[in-house]
Symmetry: C2
Subunit: 255 residues, 2 copies
């Protein structure tokens, strides 16, 4: 069972798009996937076809320890992919969480009863290093960092790497950085090429062969209510996430 | 003196790019501009040429009330534009802020001594509706919402509008939504056109004539260490922010 937190405190770099489309591709290949939407903005849940108004429970109840993961989990519109959906009340739940004893382990404990049923668990995190992201890092073994191939990509990376190290030391010895995935790559744009070079120079061993190219189909697919691999299987976005999913399956970081 | 919070809890929609380039254009026209970087990721400060290691004080000291705005303010590389820069410690300062009495007014109080010296004050906010953003909303009269012309743009808008209303009722009677600015507009992309139509349908009276088009020069200009209006004055990004700045000067929302 591979458990992966998709993290980057920079906004709009493709965390949700990566969690959703990797999940979709792996589900299509027959793997059992659990998505966990840990963002109060609930984009991943919306992407997955979840209707907030019809939810009995959400990941808020897991954080407030008032329902079990089995009671919360629901299927998504993707084959073999379930989700623990988010809800707009998650900001309030995060605020409360700050006061609990052992507050960083609440998610890890809450997930114990169901993660054994899945081959892959992806936790989509919000764009800040708060208590929800710390919970995600405490609950998983691997970290995937989508890094937009633009100027500010490198600015926050060091702080993120330090945070991973602090969580590893104090809360979760099994945690390690696994992949740094360049996103929004556009070969016509020199800045894009230069940023990927810089990322490879600094994080080479974490960077897969596949980079995710900029593809308007990826921006359009949430509006279509579909994963790109189902809606436009021969698009760049679909090819890239399928190729990335195959790399994820066999991925091992050199020590 | 126009005081403006640049807000959107969605990540990567152009908040920092808008605060910086509007500030640059207005400064170029001779207006005195103060930028306030309220994001722990400090992108606006980096954009403005501030070197974190050389700072004596930052906006953290304003939030923790251990220095005055006059002691913190520094010039930027733009003419007529000063900044209260951020610092990576701002997340810790935000956490402490949650426990202060009158915690939503700390920024408003701290700014009182210097905002009278400026024609425009722009506060750049992080991508979440936390205590820093609430402080920004409590300190200003106007809210500008950059809205990326893509699917998730509308998903968080209602919550943001509700938050503005709550702050207006309980903390700041002078606060009002002033502009919803479509960003990353790309006329070749139907999704872009459709999202702008939806935004106009719902927020018509807040939407300026000028929309900000997608322009790789805008993504490149932070790496160039310059505002686009100085580096590539005839680019789309430069034209759009100049046109938007002119609309900002005369802007009035119909009641
Ligand atoms: N490779 C791509 N090409 C084109 N558009 C993309 C690509 N990846 C993501 N997008 C679009 O860019 C926007 C931002 O992506 P996404 O929401 O996945 O980022 P995020 O890191 O989850 O953002 P946030 O920090 O707000 O959670 C979305 O509108 C998405 O559809
Ligand atoms: N109109 C545009 N065309 C092309 N690129 C743009 C445009 N506006 C902004 N960018 C680039 O898109 C990225 C996101 O923009 P920006 O950092 O301003 O968004 P933000 O809302 O401040 O993000 P965050 O939520 O992380 O604070 C940056 O790399 C920026 O240079
Ligand atoms: Mg997201
Ligand atoms: Mg920003």
């Amino acid at each position: 069972m591979r458990s992966i937190a998709v993290v980057n405190q920079k906004g709009g770099v493709g965390k949700t798009t990566t969690a959703f489309n990797l999940g979709a591709c792996l589900g299509k290949m027959g793997y059992r996937v659990l998505l966990v939407d840990l963002d109060p903005q609930a984009n991943l849940s919306v992407y997955s076809g979840i209707s907030m108004g019809e939810l009995k429970f959400s990941v808020c109840e897991l954080i407030s320890e008032s329902a079990t993961a089995d009671e919360i989990v629901v299927p998504t519109r993707l084959e073999n992919v379930d989700i623990l959906p988010s809800h707009l009340n998650l900001s309030a739940a995060e605020f409360e969480l700050n006061y609990k004893v052992g507050r960083e382990r609440v998610l890890a404990d809450g997930l114990k009863s169901i993660i054994g049923k899945y081959d892959f668990v992806f936790i989509d995190c919000p764009p800040y290093l708060g208590m929800l992201t710390i919970n995600a890092l405490t609950a998983v073994k691997e970290v995937f960092i989508p890094a937009q191939a633009e100027f500010f990509a490198l600015v926050g990376m060091e702080k993120l790497i330090d945070t991973i190290e602090i969580v590893r030391k104090r809360l979760n010895k099994k945690l390690s950085l696994s992949m740094v995935i360049p996103t929004f790559y556009d070969k016509r744009v020199r800045l894009s090429e230069e940023t990927v070079m810089l990322l490879k120079g600094r994080y080479g061993k974490y960077i897969p062969k596949t980079v995710i190219r900029r593809d308007i189909r990826l921006a359009e697919s949430p509006a279509m209510g579909q994963a790109i691999v189902n809606w436009k299987p021969s698009s760049r976005g679909s090819e890239d996430y399928m190729d990335l999913a195959k790399e994820v399956i066999d991925w091992k970081v050199e020590p």
